[in-house]
């Protein structure tokens, strides 16, 4: 066998602050003029820009979702929101405080139970509408399996006062990632709760002792743990994903981002986004003999964006 250096392929982000700024301006303008109704189109435009400027092995990613698809989901969430809101207002006007507390508890509970639906829908929609070199991503997870996994995990997390959370989050990631497809490429996730627990244990106390400064290294430890436990499998060959993100670089990134934001009252947001995207993309590598030309289209189209909109509403950060 030939003894060659392992090959690495890098991600990169080529978006520019000024271009993104122009997009934000148009988005803001139209969102205000339509009292928020333009939001789904604004979101689609931003996603398209970011995907289009994210490159892997010389080719850009593409986002195929449309404002209309996202709008359809958005309307459903909006109706849910209005129903919940009128219920609260109605109870305020009529009922007593006890019913009120029960109602609020119920709303939290329902929202809580809906989270796995949001995750499932979001991952399925986003992956189906993403492609690279014309090959689409896909998600083959089953909703009922995810709901079971989620509800059991969250209950155990509550009963162990959060300790089980380290195992829960890794089980969840394993389920989602191992059901992801990219053409005929499969994925796997090997992160374990025990290692993740001690990583966070160490991170928490060092951050406490250093008055927050270690927090940047902690964040990168978490990021690296997540990335380096992902493996892609192409034609029987394993392709590990590697990260080169360092706490010190992250500290510099965040300090500059904060200064930019503060001194421009937030107008520098597009530049902050670009800097952050560049940082993360530059630090992710795929190791091994990736065969860029041999991917085969395997997944079907999925166009329901309700889950993705709901995930947005709950501020879930899935990927």
């Amino acid at each position: 066998m030939e003894n060659t250096q392992p090959s690495f392929r890098q991600f990169s982000f080529t978006g520019e602050g000024m271009e993104l700024f122009k997009i934000y301006i148009v988005n803001w303008l139209l969102t205000i003029l339509t009292l928020g109704m333009y939001y789904p189109w604004a979101k689609a435009t931003l996603l398209k820009y970011n995907y289009h400027h994210t490159f892997f092995d010389g080719s850009p990613f593409q986002f195929h979702g449309t404002g209309l698809e996202i709008f359809k989901g958005f309307i459903k969430i909006f109706i849910y929101l209005i129903l919940v809101f009128s219920m609260i207002l109605g109870l305020q006007l009529y009922g007593n405080q006890r019913y009120m507390s029960i109602a609020i508890f119920l709303i939290y509970l329902v929202t809580f139970v809906l989270i796995p639906f949001a995750i499932h829908g979001s991952v399925r929609y986003r992956s189906s509408r993403s492609s690279w070199r014309g090959i689409h991503f896909g998600y083959r997870g089953q909703l009922n399996e995810l709901v079971k996994l989620y509800l059991l995990g969250i209950l155990l997390t509550i009963f162990t006062f959060g300790i089980y959370g380290a195992w829960f989050i890794n089980d969840l990631r394993k389920y989602i990632i191992s059901h992801g497809r990219f053409g005929n490429i499969k994925f796997d996730y090997t992160g374990e709760g025990t290692a993740y627990f001690w990583l966070n244990f160490k991170g928490f106390f060092l951050t406490l002792i250093t008055f927050g400064i270690y927090g940047f290294w902690w964040a990168m430890d978490q990021f690296n743990f997540f990335v380096e436990n992902v493996y892609a499998e192409q034609n029987g060959k394993t392709l590990p994903i590697r990260s080169s993100a360092k706490g010190s670089d992250y500290l510099v990134l965040m300090l500059v981002n904060i200064l930019l934001t503060v001194f421009t009252i937030g107008l520098a947001l597009p530049w902050v986004v670009v800097r952050t995207m560049r940082f993360f993309m530059q630090n992710i590598w795929v190791q091994g003999d990736f065969e860029a030309d041999s991917l085969v289209q395997t997944e079907e189209a999925y166009k329901d964006a309700t889950g993705d909109d709901f995930a947005d509403f709950l501020d879930l950060n899935i990927v």
Binding site: K22, I23, K48, H64, R98, I104, R133, G134, I135
Partner: protein
Amino acid sequence: MKSFAIKYFDGSTSQQHQGELILKPDLWEINLMEDGVTYKNINWRISNIRQSEFVGGSNLFKYGDFPQQTIECNDSNLHQALKSQYPYHHFFNPTNSWALSAGFGIIISLAVGILFIIFGLYKWALPPIAEAFAEKIPIEYEVKWGDTMLKNIVDSENKIGDMSYSKNDSLSELANQFVSKIDFQSPYQLKITVVKSDQINAFALPGGNVVVFDALLKKLKTKEEFAALLGHEIAHINQKHSLKNLFRNLSGYLFISLITSDLNGMSVVLFENANSILNLEYSRELEAEADSFAVKTLQKNELNTIGLLNLFNILEKATTIEPYEILSSHPLTQDRKVFAKKHLIQTKSYPKKEELEKIWQEISKKR
């Protein structure tokens, strides 16, 4: 005819093909080539070509249905060529491509313009709209709401925070007699509840209820002061200040979260406001409105307007000793005292109002 170098993907594999694109009047001709020799020829009908959103270093075009064929072109001249060759077909999203080719000055002026629009809408357009909605709520709802709140505050079994007081029945009875002798021009059924508390305070609930703390009642010396206090609180009721406040707050939050596309912000507003509807703090503007109504009430009922000034003096003294939380939302600015002094008509003689005086004397004895 000019050709553009392209990369082509057929949508079934990730195989990258090199080739050239030739723009013809009714179709795009794509020739896939290897070593200068064309090995495949593909035609794209113009109507089935999906637009690319962005003009930049490279352009992506898609064709047909899922899974789509894709071409990628790094030639920056393509954009211009498409415009001149197909002036009626939009390959690019017009809103975004317009902005992306706009100069820095235009973009900055737009940004500043947007900030002004947001500020203008928030400051001037939103409050009247919110208040118009508040006016539309029928009185019955307000009354129910206020009664529910009163039940939760006075002699309630389930105590909410520190807002729980016990009622002084005899003083409440007398205060209600007092109110019935004064014309407050209120469409609401007014009801005064005097409660036991060390706090120097009084507040109005929507729909006609006024809660007066007995500590404040003890500080009052004349019937005019009490009338001024009631006039002020009843103004909040007559003018639907609670509802207006609620609608203003909610609309403000919703507006901000809508325009910043912060869906999560909306859910926060939802949950945070669920319990804070019992918010009785008003803006200075609404307080001033209530003060001016108090003066009008005193004048209309031929009561000395010095009552309002004296009331302010009492509250001011009380706040310097014990600053209470709700009083702090009634900032006794110099302006309010100046206002009261301005409406003082000292020379005028007032009728005796014996009935009212009698009730007030009884209140004075019992408090």
